[in-house]
Symmetry: C2
Subunit: 198 residues, 2 copies
């Protein structure tokens, strides 16, 4: 049976940060290849959520109806991770980590992770160290764990900045063993550098 990867979407979510990963998980890393995963979206309520680009996404689940037997949680960045609607996600992340699930957090999703103390035992990245310090305040005690890299995986936590949708996808695909390293590297190379180069 395939495993669900749940994408947490809040209002004004950054679709370009979710798109490469969602597509690679749901339809496979290699063209016409197989995939072990399916994707689903989770939002605070069952109402549609608008992306920054203006697309209206109907969530598959809301926080009270979501399944418990999923493989990974993805906090998609956007403009609402410091809003009250993000509050419920703290317990969601805590439970996922307790259960050994993979948690990916990109852009302000990573800032949210810092703000709730989830980055204190792992190397990580995000939208710059200043941003993590600003969001994290006293709950962020691990600035020396910050790495200036597009995406960082450590244990079950994957972080990235908002320009790193493809690097974030690569680290998540590797963490989830969605395909062989060779196939994931080829996927990355094609999507990062393109069909026609230079």
């Amino acid at each position: 049976m395939k495993n669900n990867v749940l994408f947490v979407l809040l209002d004004k979510y950054a679709e370009w940060e979710a798109a490469p990963l969602a597509a690679a998980l749901n339809s496979g890393v290699t063209p016409l290849g197989d995939t072990r995963y399916t994707t689903a979206t989770v939002a605070p309520t069952s109402d549609a959520v608008r992306s920054i680009g203006g697309f209206r996404t109907m969530p598959d689940y809301h926080f009270d109806s979501m399944p418990q037997d999923y493989a990974a949680l993805v906090l998609v960045g956007g403009m609402s991770w410091d809003k009250p609607e993000a509050g419920c996600v703290e317990e969601l992340v805590a439970r996922a980590l307790r259960e050994g699930k993979t948690v990916g957090a990109i852009c302000n999703g990573a800032s949210f992770m810092a703000a709730h103390g989830f980055l204190n035992d792992v190397t990580h990245t995000g939208n710059g160290l200043d941003q993590l310090r600003l969001w994290g305040g006293e709950r962020y005690t691990n600035p020396e764990g910050f790495i200036e890299r597009q995406a960082v995986a450590d244990g079950s936590i994957v972080t990235a900045n908002g320009s790193a949708g493809i690097e974030f996808a690569r680290e998540m695909l590797l963490a989830l063993e969605a395909d062989t390293r060779e196939n994931i590297d080829a996927w990355y190379d094609f999507n990062k550098h393109g069909l026609y180069r230079g």
Copy 2:
């Protein structure tokens, strides 16, 4: 008054091809900058459309309800451009071009353009020349106009291959004069190469 850019979505649309452009148009090329455009989605019916990554998008309009006073049409690639549901888009594109509107077509959106003879008077690109020949058959009479580049703009038509979401966005933003060339180049550089490099 802002101008609408309409994204045409068919079942199994490729969200990573639409995401960078939609976000830059709807929220601006520069952070906290202004934007002249808004985005909206159009689909065959008012039912939700699934992306390749599995996200369900509620279209803002369907083909019979869409506004006529828009600035540009974007054919987002995906798995349904050779299906009957794509049929109505031929007349939509023909009318847009007659009215001098910009038409962007990426991945199989560009293949669809070839199949309906819309690329015969412009330089263009797409998912490789073989693919355009295959889809275009006798209606594609301009293989010498094909350029091996991530994205090509000529007149009011912009084309790109499926790995070129960011290059496609750049050409569309320039064609629509969404911001200054300098700002659009900076947007491209950041989104293509990322916050942390190497």
